[in-house]
Symmetry: C2
Subunit: 143 residues, 2 copies
DNA sequence: TTTCATATTGATAACAGTTCCTATCTCCGT
DNA sequence: ACGGAGATAGGAACTGTTATCAATATGAAA
């Protein structure tokens, strides 16, 4: 089995066992794992896989548009298997990440036109406090 | 001279020579320097300043809201002295960064409400091609 | 099924950005 | 002028990511 290469200069991409198992990680929706997350989980199935292979394949899979690379504010990079248009909120306290559907937002790329750039896309991430951390904060303040 | 501390736990922040000169870097508008950029420029005036001091002070100044920390998609962190509400476009080819005024955008924080998080802010960055790189790309394709 | 060109792997080293640490120094209030 | 809180310099340590490379596994053709 092969799949579409990232660009025309690369002749062929093979769907290896490692690559397939990495990709399977993204079939569970709502997760936004870091490369290290993926590495840790995958080692149950492939104990000998190397971290470099995980990095390499996440990059390749995202270039092939099978997953999405998130370039967010947090330290580590994350990847997302979600296909639908959506944004993310990150809890500034605990780091939890949730999806925010993009339906209610206007076409931001379109709004950004007219400043000398050909707009190709955008990254939008919200910061906030999740419910749990909000509760924790309130009880602390109350003391 | 003193300035407002990042939060109530810190009693006082001194406006030291290093800190002032770092801050002065941001009086020139339209720049979005990385810590290393700042370090390189500042060493003309303060040859003995250490990179660690630059990092520390950029963080402190941004917590004190005197500059803004940009957490964008590119590898290095950037800081922005601009006070007005605006977003950024980054050229995917050359890395050039330009401002995009936020006037024409709706209140994104408000739009993101109602998903269990208390929204505190957001980071929005556009990716695109600047005029120069677009021209270069076209001429290449034409060949 | 076998063969073969080559994409991919795993291991390791290299790397860049950032944080941490300690001794020293500076500023500010007294 | 002195004392002490807090800042600095310098460098080492750490983290996340990328590059290198010999050995291996893959997919396609015969």
């Amino acid at each position: 089995m092969k799949f579409k290469p990232p660009d025309d200069t690369v002749p062929l991409l093979r769907m290896t066992r490692q690559r397939r198992i990495i990709l399977e990680e993204f079939h569970t929706p709502g997760r936004h794992p870091t490369p290290d997350d993926v590495y840790m989980r995958i080692r149950r199935k492939l104990p000998n896989i190397s971290l470099g292979t995980v990095y390499r394949n996440l990059e390749i899979l995202s270039q092939a548009k099978l997953i999405k690379k998130l370039r967010l504010g947090c330290r580590q990079r994350r990847y997302d298997g979600g296909l639908h248009r959506h944004y993310h909120v990150r809890c500034v306290k605990c780091g939890k990440i949730s999806d925010i559907p993009a339906d209610s937002f206007p076409d931001l790329d379109d709004t950004a036109k007219g400043h000398g750039f050909k707009i190709l896309g955008h990254q939008l991430e919200f910061e906030g406090l999740c419910q749990a951390c909000r509760k924790a904060g309130r009880s602390q303040k109350g003391r």
